[in-house]
């Protein structure tokens, strides 16, 4: 493109500064940008990680001075889930679309090995969604609802000793994907001296284990000093409460104990005000930028490299023009990114073909395997059938043999009976004859009588 060539030439030529003789008016550019962004509305996503009951919801409520969600979680979740809720807030004329993601059931299970994986998966899923949108042919990044997590508030249990093992593992797995701000929850249980020692111990543990937490930026002169001081107060010890109590002559958010009242917004009592300052008032935009420029880019590069893309240029910055800072940088490498976009296309097509081919191959394989399995099963069933049939035949035969034997025996028995009957008849006849031949008086008498009658 012509304009970019001109721009490059100008820079290479050591462009000379000119002084204006009058007011031109381009100092209103930041205002135009601001107006545009106000019209568009802002979007911010917070992820809260901490044990059940540690005070995540209460702190968010206190931070944004709104009661978001009333539900109290139970300790008996079988695994860790994430619950995201989006709210629209407005303060003066600025609209904020706030998404709060809470971890449900974190730290409750007896076996916590799989506790951090759902969180990592969630963060990656948001990056993936954005990447998909970016890679689309027809895309609408302008009004895309950005769900990438901009900051992760990690709630540390106020034991006073050190980090818990789960905390260390989780933070190590998340520090390259999201900006982590650790906070000490329920800090009204730690006295001042213990708090100092605890903070030092926590920071040294994080450093010695290589966990990179979010450092407030110190490159902008207007806020560098306060940011540097705040960096020394990390992790913030916070107390949250939505209940108001009368202290002095005004109503303040506080927690009442028999021995005193803990005021949430009293800097002497806890670091809540510091957290609110740093998180919302001063560095919200920087958090969004870091998420986009550092964490998202890292994810994108890893993902694309995994898929097999390589770039031709040294930097593969997205063509999309981000706000303010990256503008000049991207202009430098527009030509490069064009070239790489082309190779991106080619590589993309090639990959697509490859994947398609593999898909077909796999389908064939599965179909063949299926057919084979069906054949095998059929063979087995046939075999079984044959066996059963054979057995049945065998049994039938046995049965018939038995029957035949029984028949024979019966015949024999009948023959025997007939023979016996014959013999019986014969003997009876003989007996009768014997009786007839011997002169038996009674018989004769009977005979005579009969003859007589």
């Amino acid at each position: 493109m012509a304009s970019s060539e001109v721009a490059r030439q100008l820079q290479n030529d050591n462009c000379r500064p000119l002084s204006l003789s009058g007011h031109v008016g381009f100092d209103s550019l930041p205002d135009q940008l601001v107006n545009k962004s106000i019209n568009q509305g802002f979007c911010f996503n917070i992820l809260c990680i901490g044990e059940t009951g540690i005070g995540k919801s209460t702190l968010i409520d206190t931070l944004f001075n709104t009661s978001f969600d009333d539900r109290v979680s139970t300790h008996f979740q079988p695994n860790v889930r994430l619950r995201a809720q989006t709210y629209e807030l407005q303060e003066s004329n600025v609209r904020l679309k706030l998404t709060i993601v809470n971890t449900v059931g974190f730290g409750d299970q007896i076996n916590k090995e799989d506790s951090y994986q759902p969180i990592v998966d969630y963060i990656d899923a948001q990056f993936e969604a954005y990447l998909q949108e970016e890679l689309k042919i027809k895309r609408s990044l302008y009004n895309y609802h950005d769900t990438r997590i901009h900051v992760c508030l990690y709630f540390i249990s106020p034991t006073g000793h050190s980090l818990k093992t789960l905390d260390l593992l989780t933070m190590k797995n998340l520090d390259s994907k999201v900006n982590i701000i650790p906070v000490i929850a329920k800090a009204d249980t730690i006295s001042k001296t213990e708090l100092q020692k605890f903070k030092i111990k926590l920071m040294s543990e994080l450093v010695s284990n290589g966990v990179q937490i979010y450092q407030f930026p110190t490159d902008d002169e207007t806020i560098s000093k306060i940011n540097a001081t705040m960096n020394g107060h990390l992790p913030f010890a916070v107390v949250g409460s939505m209940e108001e109590m009368k202290v002095g002559n005004k109503m303040v958010k506080a927690r009442q104990y028999p021995w005193g009242i803990v005021q949430v917004e009293n800097e002497n009592h806890c670091d809540f005000v510091k957290l609110r300052e740093m998180l919302i008032c001063t560095n919200m935009e920087d958090l969004r930028e870091q998420t986009h420029a550092r964490h998202y880019e890292l994810y994108r590069r890893c993902k694309l490299e995994e898929m097999g893309f390589r770039d031709t240029g040294p930097e593969n910055k997205p063509v999309r023009v981000p706000l303010l800072k990256g503008y000049t940088d991207s202009k430098k490498s527009i030509s490069h990114s064009h070239a790489s976009v082309e190779s991106l296309q080619e590589t993309y097509e090639a990959k697509r073909h490859e994947f398609f081919g593999e898909l077909q191959r796999k389908e064939e394989e599965m179909r063949q395997m299926f057919v084979q399995r069906v054949k095998e099963k059929e063979a087995i069933l046939k075999e079984a059938e044959r066996e059963l049939q054979a057995k049945f035949e065998h049994l039938k035969r046995l049965h018939q043999e038995e029957r035949m034997k029984l028949e024979e025996k019966r015949k024999l028995l009948e023959d025997d009976m007939i023979a016996f009957n014959k013999r019986k008849a014969a003997t009876e006849l003989l007996q009768a004859q014997a009786f007839a031949s011997t002169p038996s008086v009674s018989l004769k008498k009977d005979k005579d009588r009969k003859n007589f009658m």
């Binding site: 106020p158 000793h161 093992t165 010695s208 021995w259 002497n268 049945f392 029984l406």
Partner: protein, 362 residues
């Protein structure tokens, strides 16, 4: 604790004097000479305030050189049993107190095997006592059985966690469980009531048997009865431990200093520490008795019944074998039924010709 014998019977001149009213005195004297023994086990995740509470209870420092490991070391850590015995004396009465600590409980990422070590320790003590009791020389039996277990519940959650429930269910038949909520200065009064009620509900729901204080005898005085009633109502105890002396309202008290006030350990309005200490001291004897009469006897009868074989393997084997046999039986029955049905069908269908010959033979 022995009541004074009525004055009239100490005088041998009194008519009807026998003298056994002096027995309580004798028991008292002998017990003082013998000394008392008590073993207390504390179980709970790191950082819940166990060591501070033990130190506050016995007004001493049981853990002088403590090294608290960092998170990286705790990842693969197993539970250890550390028993430390101290002899403390008060007004001539000697108490040999053994505190059994369980560092590493709940620390590892996978806490499945957390309580196996603890249970085997408790069983070991029972085993040793049984062995000594059945021996020939029973003069010097050392009683190391665990008389009471303080189970620490985290005040930062909403109630009991799955690990708590599993552990308590595994040991409630072996030892007296007293649930304790330490670091109670993180709860307002309302939150405390809610948490106590929630925990009691969950304990009942899961059928966990915690130690119940015995009702006061009817002949005890009213104060004692009232005290016992108050104690019973406050379980689980919400306590704050500390051994630091803080200046408050003109006098030195043990407590914790905050920018917004001072939490006094021994103030009954601030926490239940005094109640816990009272309960432990006044019922120490009862805890020992319940351990002896209930838990130890249970263990002993189980042990003698199975006579030395490992009970878990046996049961598992029996169940397995039974199940296998039943499955086999069912399979065979099904096969036979099928074959019979087939044969019936074939016989009725096929053999028309042999029906005549079939005859009436069975």
């Amino acid at each position: 604790m022995a009541k004074q014998p009525p004055a009239q019977f100490t005088n041998p001149e009194t008519p009807g004097y026998v003298g056994f009213a002096n027995l309580p005195n004798q028991v008292h004297r002998k017990s003082v000479k013998k000394g008392f023994e008590f073993t207390l086990m504390v179980v709970g995740e790191s950082g819940l305030g166990k060591s501070t509470l033990i130190n506050s209870l016995f007004l001493t420092d049981l853990y002088p050189e403590r090294i608290i490991p960092g998170a990286a070391e705790k990842i693969e850590r197993t539970v250890q049993i550390e028993a430390s015995t101290v002899e403390i004396e008060e007004r001539g009465v000697k108490l040999r107190l053994t505190v059994v600590d369980t560092p590493g409980y709940g620390d590892a990422i996978n806490c499945r095997d957390c309580f196996k070590t603890i249970i085997s320790y408790i069983d070991e003590q029972f085993e040793r006592y049984l062995h000594d009791e059945s021996g020939l020389n029973r003069r010097h039996i050392v009683d190391n059985r665990v008389h009471c277990c303080f189970y620490f519940i985290s005040p930062f959650g909403h109630g009991l966690k799955p690990l708590d429930i599993e552990f308590m269910k595994a040991i409630h038949n072996k030892v007296n469980i007293v649930p304790v909520i330490a670091k109670a200065d993180t709860l307002t009064l309302k939150e405390r009531e809610r948490l106590k009620k929630r925990i009691l509900d969950e304990i009942e729901q899961h059928g966990i048997k915690i130690y119940h204080l015995p009702d006061a005898e009817s002949d005890e005085d009213e104060d004692f009865k009232e005290q016992t009633r108050l104690l019973k109502v406050s379980i689980p105890f919400c306590v704050v431990g500390s051994n630091q002396l803080i200046e408050a309202k003109g006098k030195k008290v043990r407590g914790r200093l905050y920018p917004w006030g001072v939490v006094e350990v021994e103030n009954p309005e601030h926490n239940d520490f005094l109640k816990l200490r009272t309960m432990l001291i006044t019922h120490m004897q009862d805890l020992q008795e319940v351990t002896q009469d209930l838990h130890y006897e249970n263990f002993r009868s189980e042990r003698l019944k199975r006579g030395g074989r490992k009970i878990e393997d046996e049961e598992v084997n029996k169940d397995q074998i039974l199940q296998e046999k039943e499955a086999e039986l069912r399979r065979m029955q099904e096969m036979i039924a099928r074959m019979q049905a087939q044969m019936q069908m074939q016989m009725q269908g096929g053999e028309g010709d042999s029906s005549a010959v079939h005859g009436h033979h069975v």
